[in-house]
């Protein structure tokens, strides 16, 4: 059993940023555990650009963004192991992992969960029909195309207009496929606006809003999908069925934070985000276990992942340096249009200058206000032209404000018309 100060599970953008921040705070005994053959996480297959606009003021590709952090990890000589899969975490912060050298057992002072997320498969939405070849998630297709150099098909329909679906619509087109439609259940796309423009509009790929796939046809290989318009309850409208012939169906129907290890360790998860419930230090209900990046809540911009994860790294370092939790918690919640907040708890004694609350809305709001209340007092009231579920928002709460309202029991964020 090896003793490590901070074990970081996942060497993607979250784990990388967290490790650098922890090292900058003076922690040497760090170990990143990564299950792939290289660091970088999902960024390695995101070869399109648009990463790093905020962090580096440049438009980098995924691998380029990742390599900025990987270079720093190497400069800082932060230890990491590759091709290593964590099998178990206990609530006593004992980690069991495996690689081709055998079973590894570690006792950690602090753990940073940075496992990212996985894609929801067809079964999660239970589309009836054939189980032929040619149906895969958008991310799995992205891996084949971008890393392996192979096309999963040539006549493509994509279900879901989240970013991954949009990016793959363009990508498949570049490589010679005919993307016949992107089908979206909601009346709006859940991806970034710029992706709808740059991936669909620019390539004349039809976006079928308020539609879903009700049947899948094919014997050995996919032959077509039946789509249908849906009503305001997302139920198919009879008579609007349309068969689109295709040999490939890409599913971009949601991401699920990979918290099986966390759950088995006893980490409390939010039913809304699927990620851990954390305090202002991004610490879970288990002392010394932190979470950041997509495993905490699914992000849209990797820049925010890096910011959040650096925070987690700093806080984990603080914790290791014997800065245990104490003091009262203010509950943070989202209501009236706000689906969730991260963090869910704030201990103001732990806040230095300010703390960032990140949140998402549950529907599209135009010309509404984002309001923050300390108990019943409205303290922040900002007008926003547009708020949508596909774009994560944030509010900064300063130490000054927290001190002013030191008796506050609950911070609430809501969307208001006035």
């Amino acid at each position: 059993m090896k003793d490590i100060d901070i074990v970081i599970i996942g060497g993607g953008p979250a784990g990388l940023a967290a490790s650098i921040a922890a090292k900058d705070e003076g922690i040497e005994n760090i170990l990143i555990l990564e299950r792939e053959a290289q660091l970088g996480g999902i960024l390695n297959q995101c070869i399109h650009n648009g990463f790093g606009l905020h962090t580096f003021k440049e438009e980098l590709t995924g691998p380029e963004y990742a390599s900025r952090f990987i270079d720093k990890v190497n400069e800082h000589k932060i230890p990491y192991v590759l091709n290593t899969t964590v099998l178990e975490i206990t609530k006593d912060k004992i980690i069991t992992a495996v690689n081709e050298d055998g079973i590894i057992e570690l006792r950690a002072k602090a753990i940073i969960l940075a496992m990212g997320c996985r894609e929801r498969p067809r079964g999660a939405i239970n589309i009836p029909g054939s189980r032929c070849a040619g149906i895969l998630t958008a991310g799995a297709a992205q891996k084949f195309v971008n890393i392996e150099g192979y096309m999963p098909g040539k006549e493509v329909v994509i279900l879901g207009s989240g970013d991954i679906g949009l990016i793959m619509a363009r990508r498949m087109t570049f490589e010679g496929a005919n993307v016949k439609a992107v089908v979206e259940l909601l009346p709006y796309s859940s991806g970034l606006k710029r992706n709808v423009v740059q991936c669909l509009d620019d390539y004349n790929i039809p976006l079928k809003l308020s539609h879903t796939i009700i049947n899948i046809k094919g014997k050995d290989r996919l032959e077509g999908v039946v789509i249908s318009k849906v009503d305001e309850n997302k139920q198919p409208i009879k008579g609007t069925e349309e068969l689109i012939s295709c040999d490939t169906l890409l599913l971009s129907v949601g991401l699920v934070p990979e918290n099986e290890l966390s759950q088995n360790a006893g980490v409390n998860l939010s039913p809304v985000t699927g990620g851990a419930i954390v305090n202002e230090s991004l610490e879970t209900n288990i002392e010394g276990v932190f979470a950041c990046g997509n495993v905490l809540h699914v992000h849209d911009l990797v820049d925010n992942v890096s910011l959040e994860s650096s925070n987690a790294g700093r806080c984990a370092a603080s914790y290791v340096k014997d800065d245990k939790r104490s003091g009262e918690y203010i509950k943070v919640s989202g209501v009236q249009g706000v689906r969730y907040t991260v963090p869910a708890l704030i201990n103001s004694s732990k806040v230095n200058n300010s703390t960032t609350i990140r949140f998402r809305v549950g529907e599209v709001f135009k010309e509404n206000y984002v309001s923050l209340y300390f108990d019943h007092t409205r303290v922040i009231h900002i007008k926003k032209k547009i708020l949508s579920p596909g774009e994560m928002e944030e509010l900064k709460v300063t130490k000054v404000l927290l001190n002013k309202y030191s008796n506050c029991k609950e911070i609430t964020i809501k969307i208001e018309k006035e």
């Binding site: 495996v98 079964g123 009836p128 054939s130 070849a133 991310g139 192979y150 014997k219 099986e260």
Partner: protein, 479 residues
């Protein structure tokens, strides 16, 4: 010339193959599909029925309980997973209580042990998630769950070890009577001959029988749809939960699987097309609604996949077993629908006896009883894992994260006799791809391993053979 040709490498054909591999006979198994267990065997409830639901005086009545008793020993000899978790048949209506009594009586005639009728209260004490509307239940402690395709593969591998040949991807397109037996046309132009034919061709057992005999019968494909839930729902119930059976069948059940998932289904719909395995909205909605009657709080958000299977039924409702009168040496083990999986070991005994009688077969002295399956890394202790990895580092590389399946296991599944040739073949043997991400992460690696092991380009790797290729070409080939 062969002594015996078995047509069909599903649970029935493989059980028979293993049983007659105990004799000094030249035996071959043929199947139209590229892998073992490609038909009904791979898509069913996976239940080892206690036997109370079979009519006494029928083959089903005679062979269900008999087969049930054979699973414990077989699963140990052949290293496949089996659990005697017990079954409950729920009754929602005071007036239906007599139906439970009748089932109990029927079971006792069939030789089913330990049957007991419980009150609703005691039923819920046993299984807290059972509906408040249940007024009584029949407890059958001898009911069990098994993995039907793992069992089939285990039987086939053992048969192969004991000298049985296998010709997969070989469709029987004609059978002719010849002087001392039968001549079979495989695919377009291959001919094999045998003294004895065993028809275990499932959905196509009518076609096979009707090539040869004037005692024709007709298989009615009856579709059943299922939903499979994440392992986190696997503890919802411990026993297999049935509702009172109807004419259409045993009804929708809720059961843990032997691998720890939760399974609900099936419905029962007669169809025409023997190849139609599509799930339907109506079917999936139906089984979820029915399951909700038995269990409070079915966690539909935890569904990871759905599938359907086809039962090879006939209008008389019983197995068709025996040497055909107008075709000596042609033995049917046909139209094996529920409780076919359970009865398979007993069917094998019956058929083996007939074969022995016809061919005057003698027993092998060196019959190898035991078969070792693919090692399950996920079930080993850390000490055992370390030893395994030391002997082969490929067991330290996890390929399927959701199910914790190693590269070593995947390679073994391809390299062993009757090994996997397709993505689904690897899946059946190792469980890679059966987890919550449904092969999202592991497919590219499994594909790569198959390509290297079988020495074929990645574009030729298929999901289950024929035209089910996963990749169609290199990037930009179609620009």
């Amino acid at each position: 010339m062969y002594d015996v040709i078995i047509i069909g490498a599903g649970i029935v054909g493989s059980s028979i193959a293993r049983e007659i591999s105990k004799y000094n006979l030249k035996v071959i198994v043929v199947d139209k599909d590229l892998d073992l267990a490609s038909g009904t065997t791979k898509a069913n409830s996976a239940i080892v029925h206690a036997g109370f639901d079979a009519k006494p005086g029928t083959f089903k009545g005679e062979l269900n309980a008999k087969g049930n008793f054979m699973f414990e020993k077989l699963s140990k000899e052949l290293d496949f997973p089996f659990k005697k978790n017990g079954s409950l048949v729920l009754c929602f209506n005071e007036n239906d209580k007599k139906k439970l009594e009748l089932l109990k009586e029927q079971g006792e005639i069939n030789g089913v042990p330990g049957l007991e009728i419980l009150t609703g209260e005691d039923t819920r004490k046993m299984e807290p998630s059972i509906s408040e509307n249940v007024v009584a239940a029949l407890l059958a402690p001898s009911g069990g769950i098994v993995c039907p395709y793992e069992m089939t593969i285990a039987l086939a591998e053992n048969a192969f070890t004991n000298g049985v040949e296998f010709k997969l991807g070989s469709k029987v397109n004609d059978i002719k009577k010849i002087n001392n037996g039968y001549s079979l046309l495989l695919n377009d132009d291959e001919v094999i001959e045998s003294k004895v034919i065993i028809n275990a061709a499932g959905l196509y057992s009518d076609v096979i029988n009707n090539f040869v005999s004037d005692e024709k019968f007709n298989i009615i494909p009856r579709k059943g749809e299922y939903c499979l839930f994440d392992k986190s729902a696997g503890n919802l119930v411990k026993k297999t939960i049935f509702q009172l059976p109807t004419k259409a069948g045993k009804g929708v059940l809720v059961t843990p699987t032997v691998d720890g998932n939760l399974l609900i289904g099936p419905n029962s719909v007669n169809i025409e097309d023997k190849e139609d395995l599509d799930t339907t909205k109506e079917g999936l909605d139906y089984i979820i609604d029915k399951a909700k009657l038995s269990i409070k709080n079915i966690p539909t958000r935890q569904i990871i996949t759905s599938f359907s299977g086809l039962r090879a039924s006939n209008k008389n409702g019983d197995f068709i077993i025996g040497e055909v009168k107008d075709s000596p040496g042609f033995i049917n083990a046909a139209s094996i629908d529920s409780p076919g999986l359970t009865s398979a070991p007993a069917i094998a005994d019956v058929v083996a006896s007939i074969v022995k009688g016809i061919l005057k077969a003698t027993s092998k002295e060196n019959f190898i009883r035991e078969r070792k399956g693919i090692v399950k890394f996920r079930e080993l202790s850390n000490k055992e894992r370390n030893a395994l990895i030391k002997s082969n580092p490929e067991y330290g590389r996890i390929v399927c994260r959701c199910e914790v399946i190693t590269e070593g296991e995947i390679k073994d599944s391809i390299r062993r006799p009757l090994g996997a040739k397709t993505i689904d073949g690897v899946k059946k043997r190792t469980r890679a791809g059966m987890g919550r991400c449904q092969a999202g992460f592991c497919t590219s690696r499994v594909l790569d391993i198959l390509s290297k092991e079988l020495n074929i380009p990645v574009t030729k790797v298929t999901k289950f053979g024929k035209n089910s290729n996963l990749l169609i070409g290199k990037n930009k080939e179609n620009l």
